[in-house]
């Protein structure tokens, strides 16, 4: 343990409104800490720069899931276990509930939050491709009120977000329109459990009379930010599922991503695996009776 607790302070106002006000009074001076699965690791390693933190763990306004007619609003403080156990998330947003099940062991799932995964902005975040595929929108809150941003526009560059210094992610909104979609998601990690992802894909496809009506493919760990494979989707949409299209999609995907060599894997490998996962996704579209993964 390489940090001195005496050098840090966590303030705990106890409710969202007071947290927001506090952050408004001290923009950029307080690091929000929810489940601690990222912050506390940095703290133990002696690499946590922030000295003052504000506690947002288990705040009722953040840790809840509101089910509306057209969308669900997942509180940013919802844990992965909350997501795994929520009936609507499980049935209508399987990409997300699956991602929640492989984000770490049970103890990590009980503490890690969806908002934390987003705000930590690691391109390897396990839930992020699912959010991109579902076209999530974020509700951000500050003393200036709330604003809604499309999640696909949220990450600007590696660890740079459209989040003001005094802003907090309050909720993640997912439109309830994905029942007709076939879902596919796969994480390729360093091992079968408790693993950082090397490649993570979340994809949805809607078929109409043998034609791909809407393909949505998102990938993590292959760029400075989680990516929607727009070019690949363009190549697929409106086409019939044929081997030439599958080949073109694979090639486009490999070119669209910007993977790197890092401590966990190589760029070449990631490119190849993304191509393979796209192919696997297309196979899933071609055999809808198999259901989602």
């Amino acid at each position: 343990m390489r940090s001195d607790p005496a050098d840090y302070e966590i303030v705990a106002p106890g409710n969202l409104q007071d947290v927001v006000m506090l952050m408004g009074d001290n923009p950029g001076a307080l690091l929000p800490i929810a489940g601690g699965t990222d912050v506390m690791v940095q703290y133990a390693a002696g690499t946590l720069r922030a000295r003052k933190l504000v506690n947002i763990w288990n705040l009722p306004d953040l840790r809840r899931v509101e089910v509306l007619a057209a969308e669900i609003q997942i509180g940013a403080g919802s844990t992965y276990t909350d997501l795994r156990e929520h009936a609507v998330v499980k049935s209508e947003f399987p990409l997300l509930s699956r991602a929640a099940s492989w984000i770490g062991g049970i103890s990590n799932q009980n503490r890690g939050t969806l908002g934390g995964n987003i705000a930590n902005a690691s391109p390897a975040g396990d839930s992020l491709p699912a959010l991109l595929a579902y076209g999530a929108e974020l509700i951000l809150v500050s003393v200036r009120g709330e604003r809604r941003v499309a999640y696909r526009d949220f990450h600007k560059d590696y660890k740079k977000m459209d989040l003001a210094a005094d802003e907090l992610i309050r909720a993640i909104c997912l439109a309830r329109e994905f029942k007709p979609y076939i879902s596919y998601t796969r994480k390729v990690g360093t091992r079968n459990a408790q693993a950082i992802s090397k490649v993570c894909m979340a994809a949805l496809g809607r078929m109409e009379h043998g034609v791909i009506a809407d393909a949505r493919i998102a990938v993590g760990s292959v760029a400075p930010v989680p990516l929607r494979l727009m070019e690949t989707e363009r190549v697929l949409n409106g086409k019939r599922l044929e081997s030439s299209i599958a080949l073109l999609a694979r090639k486009t995907a490999a070119e669209e991503i910007r993977p790197i060599d890092d401590i966990r894997s190589t760029a070449r490998y990631r490119s190849a695996v993304v191509g393979n996962l796209v192919a696997e996704f297309l196979e899933r579209l071609g055999a809808p009776a198999a259901g989602h993964e």
């Binding site: 607790p5 840090y8 302070e9 705990a12 601690g36 103890s107």
Partner: protein, 162 residues
Amino acid sequence: MSDSVSQCEFSLRVNGVQTFVRACSMERLLDVLREKLGLTGTKEGCGEGECGACAVLMDGELVDSCLVPVVQAAGSSIVTIEGLAVDSRFRALRETFLEYGGAQCGICTPGMMLAAVNLLDKKPAPTMDDIREGLSGNLCRCTGYAQILEAVAEAARRGAAR
């Protein structure tokens, strides 16, 4: 040296006992348990939430105590291995861990047993896959997991769950 932050009093329920500790808000629950409360059964294996040796129950949920700043545990109910040790409901689990060789060097054992208890609470009749998943956040270097999984399965058969 930078301005030291003053300590606060935190109130938490530990193994059924209402407890007050004086600590910095950022002190890890793991260290509060071990150093301030003398409950050394909970172990530090990695400090990064990877090995599960520090697992405890916080309001009935399995968490890695190395990742919990004490301010977040204030007002909650914590159960450690010391709490399990005297709970007759878990005698079957203690017995099977001994009979089946679930503990070798023993350092992962407290966390592993907490994970097992948490699993059996939620799934009193778990499959082997359930057990494997429930314990997948607890690393063991000695056993290769086989005898741990069997110990948990047998404990379930003996009605170890609440």
